[in-house]
């Protein structure tokens, strides 16, 4: 099981050069049944990462490009009158896929955003009174552009909380970029990737991840972290219980990727920046979610023992 995952990582890293840490976190996020928010400038490989993940994991892939005129129906699907049968027939939207890439999510209006986010949260879609389940696994990678641009709708805190992790790919290292320049087009490479898993296998792995042991001492560490965010003055607000659950789920997946069936404090620390960074805000910084220094503080000050 672990070797399969290692192989997946290797294969993704072969396409997305020099981003081992982020790739590992993205896979962790997938294993923990969470959704991923990629925040980066255009052209940093967000789409490539999503594509590669979908292919390697053998997941059905759909991409939704969010624009300001995107309607909820464009995401979820609509019923169309069918002349032949004389009935309304439901045409499922792009959300009915196992891996959905929601590109530039902050371009769309809050209404469309919330249609996606509700579907993410509930794992099902209710259209015209009928409830339709989404496929399982269901994994959303949303990307957003961090630069302050006109005509965007930043996701509010309550919506950000629904993403298990927020990652930023960042510029590639010099060596990696050179390799990128010298190599062929990545789209070609993508087309040749063979899936290593399928969704039943992924299911099994996810179930295994949920069984990773969390000891009392470790739960106490997570609680200490959460309490620190709730009591220390520099935090504008504390982590929600959903946040602490997310932290533990991600730590479990990380431990599993590391080949362990129990979580140790280092696992929590490894996923902490990605999991809590977008859920925290510094009190002295009323704009934006500059959780970075706060996360560093947590890692530095909260005793893990």
């Amino acid at each position: 099981m672990l070797s399969e995952l290692e192989a997946c990582l290797t294969r993704i890293n072969a396409v997305l050069l020099g981003k081992e840490a982020q790739v590992r976190l993205a896979v962790t996020c997938l294993l923990a049944r969470g959704h991923l928010l990629l925040e980066d400038l255009p052209g940093m490989g967000k789409t490539t990462l999503s594509h590669t993940l979908a292919r390697v994991m053998g997941l059905a892939f759909q991409r939704i490009q969010f624009t300001s005129d995107l309607l909820p129906g464009d995401i979820l699907g609509t019923s169309v009158f069918d002349r032949d049968s004389g009935r309304f027939v439901f045409h499922p939207g792009p959300i009915f896929a196992e891996l959905v890439l929601a590109d530039e999510i902050n371009r769309a209006t809050p209404k469309s955003q919330s249609a996606l986010l509700e579907a993410m949260e509930e794992g099902q879609v209710t259209i015209e009174g009928a409830t339709r389940p989404l496929p399982d696994p269901f994994f959303v990678i949303a990307t957003q552009n961090p630069a302050n641009q006109g005509g965007t709708f930043a996701l509010p805190e309550s919506q950000l909380d629904r993403f298990l992790m927020r990652l930023s790919l960042g510029y590639p290292a010099r060596e990696a970029e050179k390799a990128l320049l010298m190599g062929g087009t990545r789209r070609d490479a993508l087309a040749h990737i063979e899936p290593l898993l399928d969704h039943t296998r992924l299911h099994e792995i996810q179930a295994e991840v949920a069984r990773v042991r969390v000891s009392d001492a470790l739960a106490d560490y997570v609680l200490r972290l959460v309490e620190a965010t709730r009591t220390q003055p520099q935090f504008a607000w504390g982590l929600s219980p959903r946040g602490s659950l997310a932290l533990l789920a991600a730590a479990r997946a990380w431990a599993f990727l590391d080949g362990r069936d129990y979580v140790i404090p280092e696992d929590v620390q490894a996923v902490l920046p990605a999991v809590v960074g977008h859920r925290l805000r510094e009190r002295a910084d009323p704009t934006g979610l500059g959780g970075g220094t706060l996360v560093q503080w947590l890692l530095r000050e909260v005793p893990p023992l």
Partner: protein, 320 residues
């Protein structure tokens, strides 16, 4: 007395080191009978005398029963503090002369802790209950006098529960530190403008409501009140009027430009910083050896106030 308290503090520093979160254990809890406890013993002594002189077994028994209750009360009072976790919470910065309200979170890890009192002095303690496996928060009051970091003395936590015969207490240092800004002092600023000209200093700083900037395409979420209906009727599509906030010229607040006693200058600067922020004006703060800005907004204001508060103080700790 002061030498005694210095000795005591040094001893306590070793025994109960400063920490944001302290769990009271046998090392940190002290216990002694209260005045009421001593009076209780005297009453027991009288009952014992009666028992001896009247050779009355029941009076003996009652004396021993109450004596045993007295002994058991030691354990109960001690237990009422043992295992209690104290944690200092966030404290907002204040201006000199104001009262800070740091709060302390009391948390139980197992049983309930009833009637735990907390305070800086014995005279003014706040009493509260900590539920089993729960927590309570106590807000304390702390008078500030000077700018800078306000570090209160050790905090006394005590309990006389259940019978009031004993008082168990501890002195903890929860590393409470309140940043105290200088006391704002009303006064006129010498008009020193940053930059050269007036118009150059004025810059568009983002979407606002001050200045009409032109027409842009409507996007979902734009206010309908700003729709340019005339343009729409002419078939030019949906357009909105775009406004921009216009900042005034930058203000330079300089320590050196002011006269008088340094503390008074800091106080005046504090007032000016607040005034400039209220007016949403960009400003630069110049302190000897340090320049902040130009900038605006709450964050800039906070940085400036912090610099004023800690001006001249040794770099004691990173900004909280």
């Amino acid at each position: 007395m002061s030498r005694f308290s210095r000795h005591r503090d040094r001893w306590l520093d070793k025994r109960i080191p400063r920490a944001k979160s302290v769990v009271l254990s046998q090392r940190s809890i002290f216990i002694l009978p209260t005045r009421m406890g001593v009076a209780f013993l005297i009453v027991l002594g009288l009952i014992l005398l009666a028992a001896i002189n009247y050779q009355n077994s029941l009076a003996y028994a009652m004396c021993f029963l109450l004596g045993s209750v007295y002994a058991v009360a030691i354990l109960h009072t001690w237990r009422n503090l043992a295992g209690l976790r104290l944690q200092s919470g966030r404290t907002h910065p204040i201006f000199a002369g104001e009262q800070a309200h740091p709060w302390v979170r009391l948390e139980s890890r197992s049983r309930a802790h009833q009637a735990v009192a907390l305070g800086w002095q014995r005279a003014a303690m706040t009493l509260d209950d900590v539920p089993a496996r729960g927590a309570c928060e106590i807000e304390l009051a702390l008078q500030s006098e000077r700018r800078g970091w306000l570090r209160p003395e050790r905090l006394r936590v005590e309990s006389r529960f259940p019978l009031g015969l004993f008082v168990a207490w501890s002195w903890v240092d929860l590393d409470i530190a309140v940043l105290v800004y200088p006391r704002p002092l009303e006064g006129e600023a010498p008009t020193v403008q940053g930059g050269e000209g007036d118009e150059e200093g004025a810059r568009v700083v983002g979407v606002g409501a001050d200045d009409y900037r032109g027409l842009v395409a409507w996007q979902r979420g734009d206010s309908l009140q700003r729709l340019h209906w005339k343009a729409y009727s002419r078939g030019r599509g949906l357009l909105v009027k775009d406004f921009a906030a216009l900042a005034g010229s930058d203000l330079l607040l300089s320590f050196d430009a002011l006269g008088g006693d340094p503390e008074a200058r800091l106080s005046l600067l504090c007032h000016l910083v607040l005034a400039a922020s209220d007016a949403q004006q960009r400003f630069t703060l110049q302190l000897p050896g340090r320049t902040l800005g130009p900038g605006e907004g709450a964050e800039h204001q906070e940085r400036c106030l912090q610099a004023l508060a800690l001006h001249g103080a040794p770099a004691e700790r990173a900004a909280a």
